[in-house]
Amino acid sequence: MWEYTDKVKEHFLHPHNVGEVENPDGQAEVGSIACGDALKLTFKLDENKRIKEAKFKTFGCASAIATSSALTDIIKGMTLEEALKVTNQDIAEYLGGLPQEKMHCSVMGKQALEKAIENYKGAPSIEPGAKIICECFGVTDKEIERAIRENNLTTVEEVTNYTKAGGGCGNCHEAIQQIIETLRNETKVPAAPKLTNLQKIRMIEETIEREIRPSLKHDGGDIDLVDVVGNRVIVATRGACATCKASDITLKHFVEHRLRELVSSDIVVEEVAK
């Protein structure tokens, strides 16, 4: 069972603003019945160009309904400029938080809002220059990038939780990983390193020796540190690991995870070419 806040339950059981505004000034439909949730948002402006009325119709789970209800509450009374500044985080916070796996519901709310405002302004509904990355759920690179920036996402799994991208066939996992890495390099702050390079290498060596090698050896494998270039830790796998098809998973999920935890959060583990 999901851990929903009381506010989410309240908005699910007694949603506000269900329905469709008559003769709306702006409207949008996002999501689809195939992906399991969809939201139709309609709004009307008053004479001061503030949102007077906003209504929703949602197909989806409890949190999809609750976020739609919250969204309409939040934007009522706002100017369109103010409404555009509402982020998916704001929607989630309004509800006292959402489970990680349900963050895509808040992103859906944000998308519907943007599209409805674009519709009012008569702008094209598809972002210019955007490319579909996830074919299963029709998620574009722009949407993925925005979710990564606004929520500081670092893994494909997190991107899936927030945008649904990668949640179907999984063919786009590599492309999502690339977007994550591109953004990570972009946003890297050249802050003064806390460790000297030598100290860092020593720490990496120690961590591999103490925390990583014993458990790999337990499974008949082994690992050697080959080089450290900036945040890239280059290793070679030995023994059972060298022939194991799952060794890249071990490297990412275990070795890299452990090094990030114990040495530095920006470490990327790479395997030396075999």
């Binding site: 019945i33 195939a34 399991g36 939201l39 949602t58 197909f59 789970c61 349900k102």
Partner: protein, 393 residues
């Protein structure tokens, strides 16, 4: 608020009779059945009785019963043993609708170099035995097909499938976790080599299971340790669990008739009335070849998690094959294998009954479900347009 529990394929209530026989083994009768003294030995004798009770339910001999910790362990032990005892064979046949205990194990075996064939099912969830015949090769080590499906209740013809596998010298395992106690099983008259049972699906507690291993067949243990279970499963016995499971098996044999009359009648009433009262709803799974306690109904244009949470407000417990309830983004692999359209799969609800359900409970559900679906459809952007489309026809 009273709980109406219609989620018995997830887990069941421990029968009061079962709990009663278990209690002494948590307190005064704590002896180790392997001990030399009679304080432990008396527990060993009780385990022997439980072994006979479990064997009786499935038409087996007591020495063919291996107690395990759960259905998943039984499934893992069976398939791994089949591979270990036939090391030259590298092919496994399962179906696309197996429980994760089998599917995920096979996915992991696939990455270790085994070839896995997943047999498809038709729109009613049924298996084509000719397709099984075509896929068996001299390299096939084991065929593992579930007896009754946990999500739809659809029954596979495992006895015929086992005979076909045997004819080709291939081992046959079945996950009978859902079917044990609900339909008659007689292993003496079948070619099934291994069969998995889970205690908590038949009114025993969680943490106890059975693997049936046919007499005379080679077996390679999954848990290696002491000589318990004749060396087929190391580890000190879960004595209260085993003794409780024995009692539950005895009760299940007695209740089998009720499952197929009283429970089936309530299930049929629930299904019939919901389909009648809720437009654009349908049953997922074959009508006849189905466990007597299960119905899986899709309500189009609404989402399963939302339905479950509104049912929860009334104390009604069931489950859903929708994507949102699983934490993944795709609806149930079983419904997808059957080609259930996404519009239907997301709104699927599984009701699974037991002998403890009453007609008053079923009437309550029949009375309240239509309003729940209406309420959600009222919020759904798809409902109005679809309803209009229908009235235009």
């Amino acid at each position: 608020m009273k709980t109406i529990y219609l989620d018995n394929n997830a887990t069941t209530q421990v029968a009061p009779e079962v709990l009663e026989v278990m209690l002494p083994y948590f307190s005064e009768l704590y002896g180790n059945p392997s001990s030399m003294h009679s304080f432990g030995g008396q527990v060993a004798r009780k385990i022997q009785i439980a072994r006979e009770q479990a064997a009786d339910l499935i038409g087996a001999s007591p020495e063919e019963i291996v107690f395990t910790s759960c259905g998943t362990e039984s499934d893992n032990a069976a398939i791994r043993s089949a591979l270990a005892t036939r090391p030259e064979r590298k092919h496994i046949i399962i179906s696309r609708v197996e429980h994760p205990a089998v599917r995920m194990l096979c996915a992991s075996l696939a990455s270790a170099g085994y070839r896995i064939t997943e047999l498809p099912v038709d729109k009613n969830g049924l298996l084509d035995l000719e397709n099984l015949a075509e896929n068996m090769t001299p390299d096939t080590a084991v065929v593992s097909l579930m007896w009754g499906n946990n999500e739809t209740g659809v029954i596979f013809p495992v006895e015929e499938a086992a005979a076909m596998a045997h004819g080709r010298g291939i081992l046959f395992h079945t996950d009978a976790v859902q079917s044990t106690g609900k339909i008659p099983i007689n292993l003496q008259e079948s070619a099934i080599d291994m069969l998995s049972i889970s205690g908590h699906k038949l009114h025993a507690p969680k943490g106890i299971g059975v693997l049936y291993v046919r007499k005379g067949s080679k077996f390679s243990p999954f848990l290696i340790g002491g000589h318990q279970e004749r060396g087929r499963r190391g580890g000190t016995e879960n004595t209260p669990g085993i003794i409780g499971l024995g009692k539950a098996c005895e009760l299940a044999a007695k209740n089998m008739e009720r499952e197929n009359t009283e429970v089936k009648k309530l299930r049929d009433k629930l299904e019939r009335e919901l389909l009648k009262k809720v437009p654009q709803s349908r049953v997922n799974g074959a009508a006849v070849q189905r466990l007597p306690n299960t119905t899986n109904i899709s309500f189009e244009f609404v989402e399963g998690e939302a339905i479950l949470l509104l049912m929860n407000e009334l104390g009604i417990c069931a489950s859903s094959g929708s994507a949102c309830t699983s934490g993944s983004l795709q609806p149930s692999h079983v419904l997808r294998a059957m080609g259930v359209p996404f519009t239907m799969a997301h709104g699927s609800i599984r009701f699974s009954l037991s002998v403890y359900n009453t007609e008053a409970e079923i009437d309550f559900v029949i009375e309240h479900m239509p309003a729940i679906i209406d309420r959600l459809r009222g919020m759904s952007p798809y409902w109005t347009s679809s309803a209009q489309a229908c009235s235009n026809n």
